[in-house]
C-alpha cells in the first residue's frame, strides 16, 4: 500500500442483551445515556474520530443485538474486525459466564488470522448500580478470567455515569490499531488478478 494509510479501525461489541453495549457506545460516541431500555436489532455502527500519536483514525464501532432472534442474518459483519469488546454486567453472573461463549463464537465466526493474539478487551459495566452493593462478579474473578485468556485488558465502567468509558475505548483503539498494523504487515492487499473469471452471468438488469 503506497500512500493510503489505513485509518479505519473496526471494533465489535459483544455481550448478552441488556449488559449495556448500546449505552457504552452512545456514551462514548455521543456522550449520552438513557435509562430506558430499548433492544437493539441487527447490527450497526457508529463512528468516532480518535487521535493517536498525531494520527487521526476513524473508529467504526459495531453494536450488536445480544438476542439471537434479532440477529437473523448472521454475523458476517465480524469480518475484518481489529478488536472485539466483550461486555458483561457486574451485577449478573450469567452475563459474565457467557463471555466465554461470546469469545469463542467470535473467534470461530470472524476467524482472525492469528486467533491467539487477537485483541479483546473486557468491560464490566454498570458498576454504579446500588453503589456496587448488588454486584455479583468480583473484579478479582473477572481479572482472573481475563488473565487466563491471554491477559485481556479489563475495565470496569458505568455507561450511565460515564466512568472509565473513555479510558476503555482508548485502550480498545490502541489495541485495534496495533492489530490493524500487524495485519497490514502480513496481509498486503494484493490479490491474484490473473485468475479472473469474468464470464459469469449476473442477475437481472437492475
Amino acid at each position: 500500500m503506497p500512500s493510503r494509510r489505513r485509518t479505519l479501525l473496526k471494533v465489535i461489541i459483544l455481550g448478552d442483551s441488556g449488559v449495556g453495549k448500546t449505552s457504552l457506545m452512545n456514551q462514548y460516541v455521543n456522550k449520552k445515556f438513557s435509562n430506558q431500555y430499548k433492544a437493539t436489532i441487527g447490527a450497526d455502527f457508529l463512528t468516532k474520530e480518535v487521535q493517536f500519536e498525531d494520527r487521526l483514525f476513524t473508529l467504526q464501532i459495531w453494536d450488536t443485538a445480544g438476542q439471537e432472534r434479532f440477529q437473523s442474518l448472521g454475523v458476517a459483519f465480524y469480518r475484518g474486525a481489529d478488536c472485539c469488546v466483550l461486555v458483561y454486567d457486574v451485577n449478573s453472573m450469567k452475563s459474565f459466564e457467557n463471555l466465554n461463549n461470546w469469545r469463542d463464537e467470535f473467534l470461530i465466526q470472524a476467524s482472525p488470522s492469528d486467533p491467539e493474539n487477537f485483541p479483546f478487551v473486557v468491560i464490566g459495566n454498570k458498576i454504579d448500580i446500588d453503589g456496587g452493593n448488588s454486584r455479583v462478579v468480583s473484579e478479582k474473578k473477572a481479572r482472573a478470567w481475563c488473565a487466563s485468556k491471554g491477559n485481556i485488558p479489563y475495565f470496569e465502567t458505568s455507561a450511565k455515569e460515564g466512568v472509565n468509558v473513555e479510558e476503555a475505548f482508548q485502550c480498545i483503539a490502541k489495541d485495534a490499531l496495533k492489530s490493524g498494523e500487524e495485519e497490514e504487515l502480513y496481509l498486503p492487499d494484493t490479490i491474484d488478478v490473473g485468475n479472473s473469471s469474468q464470464q459469469r452471468s449476473t442477475g437481472c438488469e437492475c
Binding site: M1, P2, S3, R4, T7, L8, N30, K32, S34, Q36, Y37, K38, A39, T40, I41, G42, D44, F45, L46, T47, T58, Q60, A65, R69, F70, Q71, S72, L73, G74, A76, F77, R79, G80, D189, T190, I191, V193, N195, S196, S197, Q198, R200, T202, G203, C204, E205, C206
Partner: protein, 794 residues
C-alpha cells in the same frame, strides 16, 4: 434458483473474487487519485451485488465485503471535496454509472459525504435518496440497498442535538425519513412471498425470515432518534408503524414487527399507549401468534415494574392490569380453538404481571387464576406436556413472588387450577410447594392451614382415585415421602391446644396414605407430638383442668394409636423404636404406667414380630440403651423389664452377639447418679455370664479350626471390668481383673489361635489406659497400681 448449498458456495466465491478484483483496481485508482477509474471499478465491484443466486445469508456476506470497500471510497470522496472537488458535482457524476444498483450504492455513499459537507440540508439529501431507492424493486437487493442507506445515514439524521439538526420540524424530518424507508422495506419484504413458484414457498419464507432484521432495524433506528417524545411517539411513530403492520396482512411480518415494537420502544411509552398497541392485536391475521406477542409485552412490563417501586404509579394511572386483562379476554374469546398451551401462557404472563405490579392485590391474582379455571373447565385433564409445564409455571409464580405458601393458600382458585394437572404433575407441583416452604422456613401454624395445605399436596399424601403408584420409581417415591416428612416438621404452634389440633389433622391425612407411606409419615408425626409433650412437661398439670385440656397423657394415648397403625404394614423395627422413644418421653414426664405400657408394646413386638437375627441385635441394644436411661420405674417394674432384656440378650442367635448383649446388660444394674440403681452383684453376674458365653464361643471356634477366636470378646469384657472397677463397684476386684488379663494372654499365645493384630492392638491400648491411670498417682493411681501386666514378647 438453486438447490444445493454447494452451488451457492461456488457462486459466493465467484462473487467475492469478482468483488476483490475490482476493489483492487478501485484501490489503485484511489491511490493515484483517479476519480474516474475509482468510480468505474467501484461500480463494477458493486455489480456483484446484482446476483440473484444467493440466499440472504450469503448475500449478506458479499454485501459486507462491498460495504467495507465503500467506506474507503467514502473517505476518498471526503478527501476529494477537501481538495476542492464540488460535492454537488460528485453527486451528479456518480449518477452516470451504467447499472442502477451500483449507481444507487454510489449515490448513497456520496450522499453521506454530501450531508457531512452541509452544503445542503440533511433532510433534502435524505429525501432524495430514499426516493431514488424506489428504483430497485427486487426484494433482496432492494432491502440491502435500503439498509445501506439506513446505515450510512444513521449518524446524519437531523435529530435534536445532532450537528445536522435543521429547523423546528427537524425531528419530524428525521422520523419521516426513517418511516418512509421502513415502509418501503416492509413492502419489499412482504411482496417477496408472492414472487416465484408456489412450491418454493417454504424456502422463501425461510429466506424472508432471515431478512427480517433489515426491516426491524428501522424501528430500532426510530427508537434511537433523539427528540421523539411521548407525544410524537403516540401521534406519529406508533400509528404509522402499526398502520404498516396491520395493512400488510402478512403473518410473518406482523408477528415479528409486533415483537420489535415491544422490544425497541421504552416501557413508559408502551404504558401510555397500551390502548393503541392492544387495539392492533385483534386486527392482525388470525394465524398470528398473538399469545406470544402479548406474553412478551407483559413480560417486559413485569420487568419494568420489578425494576423500581417508583414506576408502579404509572401502571396504576393507566389501569394497565384491566387493559391487559381485557385484551387477553378478547383474544381468547376471538379464538375459541386456541390450544390450552396458549391460554395458560397468556394467563401465566398476566399473573406474573399482576404479581409484580400489584403485589398487594391478591384478588387480582385470584381473578387471573379463576379466569384460567373457567377456560380450562370442561376439557378434562391437560394432556399437552408443554401446557402442563406452563401450568406449573403459573402455579409457581405466586410462591416465588411471596416466598410464602400462606399467601398462595389464600388464593381460592389455586387448588382448582391444580385439578387440571395429571397425577404425576400434581405430585411435581406438591414437591415445588414443599420446597418453597422448606426454603423459606415457613411455619404452618394452624390446623386450618394444614388442612388447606394437605389439599394442595394430596397427590403425595395418598393414591389418587383409580391410579396406583406402581409406575412410580422407587427412589422418586422415597424422595417425595421424605419431603412430606420434612414438611410435617414445619407445623408448629406455641399454643398446645392448636398444636394438638394440628397433630390430629395430620394424623387424619396421613392415615389415608396407606402402608407404603406410613413408614415415612408416622415418625415425623410422632416426633412432632413428642415435641409437644416436652413443651407441656415443664408445666404443672392443672389438677382442676377439665378433660378437654391438652395433657401429656392424652398425647401419649394418641401416640399409642398412631404407632399402632404401623402394625399392619408391618415394620416392627420402626414401631419398636418409636415405642421406645415414647417410653423415654413418658419417663421424663414421670408417668410410670405409661412408660411401662410403651415398653411392654416394644417387648411384644420384639417377641412376636422381630425374627431376623440382625434386626434382633439392633433392637436389643436399643432396648438396653433406653432402659438404662429410665429412672421412673419402681423396683418391681424395673426388675421385670431388665430380666426380660437380659433374657432376650442371652437368646440371640450367635454366641458373640449374645455375649455383647449380655455384657451391655450389666449397665442396667449400675446407673450413675442413681444410688438406688447400683447393684454390684448383678453387674458381676452379667459379666460372668458374658465370660461364660465368650468361653463357649472360643471353644466352638477352636473346634472349627481356622476361624479366628473370640479373644476380642474377652478384651471387650475386660474393658467392662475396668469400667466398673473404676466406678467403684466393690464386686470387681483386682484379682478378677488380673485373672482375666492372664486368660487373655494365654489365649493369645496358644498355638491354636492364629494371631489377631486387631486384638493385640486393642489389648495394648486397654493396658496403656491402665498404665495411664497408674501414672496419675493419687487415689486413682493407687487403685490401679496392683494390676500387673507383662506384654508378650514378639
Amino acid at each position: 434458483m438453486l438447490d444445493g448449498t454447494e452451488d451457492e458456495e461456488k457462486f459466493l466465491a465467484a462473487g467475492i473474487a469478482g468483488l476483490q478484483q475490482n476493489s483492487f483496481y478501485m484501490h489503485r485508482a484511489l491511490d493515484s487519485n483517479n476519480l474516474r477509474d475509482a468510480l468505474k471499478y467501484s461500480a463494477q465491484m458493486l455489480s456483484e451485488l446484482r446476483t440473484s443466486k444467493l440466499s440472504p445469508h450469503k448475500y449478506y456476506e458479499l454485501y459486507m465485503r462491498a460495504f467495507d470497500q465503500l467506506r474507503k471510497l467514502e473517505m476518498f470522496f471526503e478527501e476529494e471535496t477537501r481538495r476542492g472537488c464540488s460535492i454537488i458535482d460528485l453527486y451528479e457524476l456518480v449518477q452516470h454509472a451504467g447499472n442502477i444498483l451500483p449507481r444507487l450504492y454510489l449515490l448513497c455513499t456520496v450522499g453521506s459525504v454530501y450531508i457531512k459537507s452541509k452544503e445542503a440540508p440533511a433532510k433534502d439529501v435524505l429525501k432524495d435518496l430514499v426516493e431514488m431507492c424506489r428504483g430497485i424493486q427486487h426484494p433482496v437487493r432492494g432491502l440491502f440497498l435500503r439498509s445501506y442507506l439506513s446505515q450510512v445515514s444513521r449518524d446524519k439524521l437531523p435529530d435534536i442535538g445532532s450537528e445536522y439538526e435543521g429547523d423546528a420540524d427537524t425531528v419530524s424530518d428525521a422520523v419521516e425519513f426513517v418511516l418512509q424507508n421502513f415502509t418501503e422495506m416492509n413492502k419489499l419484504w412482504v411482496r417477496m412471498q408472492h414472487q416465484g413458484p408456489a412450491r418454493e414457498k417454504e424456502k422463501r419464507e425461510k429466506e424472508r425470515s432471515e431478512l427480517r432484521d433489515l426491516v426491524g432495524k428501522n424501528l430500532h433506528v426510530l427508537s434511537q432518534i433523539e427528540g421523539v417524545d411521548l407525544d410524537m411517539y403516540k401521534d406519529i411513530v406508533l400509528p404509522r408503524v402499526l398502520e404498516q403492520v396491520v395493512n400488510c396482512k402478512d403473518e410473518l411480518a406482523q408477528f415479528y414487527l409486533m415483537d420489535c415494537i415491544i422490544q425497541v420502544f421504552p416501557d413508559e411509552y408502551h404504558l401510555q399507549t397500551l390502548d393503541v398497541l392492544l387495539g392492533a392485536c385483534p386486527q392482525l391475521q388470525p394465524s398470528v401468534d398473538i399469545k406470544t406477542v402479548l406474553s412478551q409485552l407483559m413480560e417486559r412490563l413485569s420487568h419494568y415494574a420489578a425494576s423500581s417501586a417508583e414506576v408502579l404509579p404509572e401502571f396504576l394511572q393507566v389501569e394497565a392490569f384491566a387493559k391487559l386483562s381485557n385484551a387477553i379476554g378478547r383474544v381468547i374469546e376471538a379464538q375459541p380453538d386456541m390450544p390450552t398451551l396458549g391460554v395458560v401462557t397468556l394467563y401465566s404472563s398476566l399473573l406474573t404481571f399482576t404479581l409484580h405490579v400489584h403485589p398487594d392485590r391478591l384478588d387480582y391474582a385470584d381473578q387471573v387464576l379463576g379466569a384460567c379455571v373457567r377456560k380450562l373447565s370442561g376439557k378434562g385433564k391437560i394432556e399437552d406436556s408443554k401446557a402442563t409445564k406452563q401450568v406449573v409455571a403459573l402455579l409457581s409464580a405466586p410462591l416465588e413472588k411471596y416466598n410464602d405458601i400462606m399467601t398462595a393458600l389464600k388464593l381460592s382458585n389455586y387448588p382448582r387450577v391444580l385439578e387440571y394437572l395429571d397425577v404425576p404433575t400434581i405430585r411435581v407441583m406438591a414437591t415445588v410447594i414443599i420446597q418453597s416452604i422448606m426454603k423459606n422456613g415457613t411455619r404452618i401454624s394452624t390446623s386450618d392451614k394444614v388442612e388447606a395445605l394437605f389439599e394442595l399436596i394430596k397427590g403425595l399424601i395418598k393414591d389418587s382415585d383409580g391410579t396406583s403408584n406402581d409406575k412410580l420409581d422407587e427412589d422418586d417415591f422415597k424422595e417425595e415421602q421424605n419431603s412430606v416428612a420434612r414438611l410435617i416438621q414445619m407445623f408448629y404452634n406455641d399454643d398446645p391446644e392448636e398444636m394438638l389440633k394440628i397433630i390430629e389433622t395430620v394424623r387424619k391425612h396421613i392415615l389415608a396414605g396407606g402402608p407404603k407411606r406410613l413408614p415415612f409419615t408416622v415418625p415425623p408425626l410422632v416426633f412432632c407430638s413428642l415435641k409437644l409433650v416436652r413443651q407441656l412437661q415443664g408445666q404443672e398439670e392443672n389438677p382442676f383442668g377439665d378433660d378437654a385440656s391438652t395433657t401429656p397423657k392424652k398425647i401419649f394415648q394418641l401416640l399409642n394409636q398412631i404407632i399402632e397403625t404401623l402394625s399392619g404394614i408391618p415394620v416392627p423395627e420402626l414401631a419398636l423404636q418409636l415405642y421406645l422413644q415414647c417410653a423415654e418421653a413418658a419417663n421424663d414426664c414421670e408417668l410410670e404406667p405409661v412408660a411401662y405400657e410403651f415398653f411392654t408394646q416394644a417387648y411384644i413386638l420384639y417377641e412376636e414380630e422381630i425374627s431376623d437375627s440382625r434386626a434382633q441385635i439392633t433392637c436389643i441394644h436399643l432396648i438396653i440403651g433406653t432402659l438404662q436411661r429410665m429412672h421412673v420405674f419402681g423396683v418391681e417394674n424395673r426388675d421385670t423389664l431388665t430380666h426380660k432384656a437380659t433374657g432376650y440378650s442371652a437368646k440371640l442367635l450367635k454366641k458373640p452377639d449374645q455375649c455383647r448383649a449380655v455384657y451391655a446388660c450389666s449397665h442396667l444394674f449400675w446407673v450413675e447418679d442413681h444410688d438406688n440403681m447400683k447393684d454390684g452383684e448383678r453387674v458381676l453376674l452379667c459379666l460372668k455370664r458374658a465370660l461364660r458365653i465368650a468361653n463357649a464361643a472360643q471353644q466352638m471356634a477352636n473346634a472349627a479350626r481356622g476361624s479366628t477366636g473370640s479373644v476380642m470378646l474377652f478384651i471387650e469384657i475386660l474393658n467392662k471390668y475396668l469400667y466398673f472397677f473404676e466406678k467403684g463397684n466393690p464386686q470387681i476386684t483386682v484379682a478378677s481383673i488380673q485373672s482375666l488379663i492372664e486368660l487373655i494372654m494365654n489365649e493369645m499365645q496358644s498355638d491354636s489361635t492364629t494371631s489377631d493384630p486387631a486384638a493385640e492392638a486393642f489389648l495394648a491400648s486397654t493396658m496403656r489406659y491402665v498404665q495411664f491411670q497408674k501414672q496419675k498417682g493419687g487415689a486413682v493411681g493407687e487403685k490401679y497400681e496392683p494390676i500387673k501386666y507383662e506384654p508378650i514378647k514378639a
